[in-house]
Amino acid sequence: MKKMTAVTGNEALAEALRQINPDVCAAYPITPQTDMMQRFADFVADGLVDTEMMLVESEHSAMSACIGASAGGGRVATATSGPGLALMWEMLYVASGMRCPIVMPVINRALSAPLNIHCDHSDAMGARDSGWIQLWSENAQEAYDNLIMAFRIAEHAGIRLPVMVCMDGFIISHSVGVMDFLSDDKVQRFVGDFTPQEALLDIERPVSYGPLIVTDQYHEYKKAQNEIMDSVFAVTEAVASEFEYLSGRRYGLFESYRLEDAEIGIVVLNSAAGTCKDIIDEARENGVKVGLLKPRLFRPFPYTAVADALSHLKAVCVLDRSDSFGAFAPLFAEIAASLYPREQRPVLLNRIYGLGGRDFMPEHVEAVINEMMDVVSRRIAAMPKKYISLRQYY
């Protein structure tokens, strides 16, 4: 029998970092991530890892130090949340442009103002175009597994790009859930030794990083970065199948839940998928053919595979925990772009839920399912974008 443990999401990720034992970790505390790096700093202080822990003065400095350490030839990790990720913004593009395979858990938190420390995906969505690979995680187990796989994807010889592992703040980071940890030995063998490429600290072969590339080739450089992203799909799938052999847990580019024979579907990221699956099971018992698609790899985005999974449906509701004010929300935009080329495609709804940690409850899923059923059976036109779970009064 497997040894199951009850831990918080942050504990699970700190444990993964202990097992991986990166060379350098530069971090700055920010809620709800603080608790993870504090635990990891304990591992450093207790001598359980050899990591050089750098306590810097801001997230901009944290990412800068990580880039330096990565260019120097080390395996590098950090973590952040919400405004911390926003402060890293300039350096995120430097990390991906310099091909630094940094791995960073992002514990999703709302952006100010108004000040809010709770779960919201606006932070990672703001960084979606930064050239980082993004893996999203429903629970502590998936986040732990994603974090271990992230090192293999980031450090793959043909990729060498940074990876964010997104996990919901508080809902997962601070809640206790059941975990199946892999042994230290298994994780270390899976992740393997780090092979630096063109390391700054290799004094036998000196190199300079970050020269100027202007109008003559910057355009070609960015095209090349885009092409590298295209090869991430195959590597992510290959790493996942090796991981399945190790752990018995199977991960695709996205999770498809009861979609094959469905008529309507929900698309949602991270922890809300758990609530949706429960309500989908209930609705199925009442004869409602509903399913769910939960993206795992959000950057690069697997447009064709997502369209294959959704195009047979009559209606799809994309639930976004972030917004693009005055426009459709980020996840909706991707799903719409996936489906547009298909002749047969569902009616699409965009519903904004859970901003700043607003609870996402079973009745919200029921309401969304009912709305989709109305759209399908009574051919009612529905507003394309709408906020749900709004308060009417205090």
Partner: protein, 98 residues
């Protein structure tokens, strides 16, 4: 001048040879290039004087052409060129980049 185009396999902003500034050519920044018409040149050398990149080649006091490895195509030479009998000795044409 031939420049290697960046591809997927060379997509990394790393300079791996020491003393490489001598081989760093800036001519690829050009979108316009100067064309020299010797017949209209009085060898006043205003082009040589004004060129910010020392890309005007002068031998024995005579203008001979351009060093295209470093000419960025700013067009100052063409603007300053007084020419001969109303005809400029330097004109700018579109660089054929494709």
């Amino acid at each position: 001048m031939k420049t290697r185009i960046i591809t997927k396999s060379t997509c990394k902003p790393v300079i791996s040879e020491a003393g490489n500034s001598a081989i760093f050519k800036t001519g690829s920044w050009r979108s316009l290039k100067p064309v020299f018409e010797a017949a209209h040149c009085s060898h006043c050398l205003l082009c040589w004087l004004y060129c910010p990149d020392m890309s005007v080649i002068v031998r024995d006091g005579k203008m001979e052409g351009f060093d295209m490895d470093y000419c960025k195509g700013c067009g100052i030479c063409a603007l300053e060129c007084p020419g001969k009998k109303g005809m400029k000795a330097i004109c700018m044409v579109k660089e054929d980049i494709l």
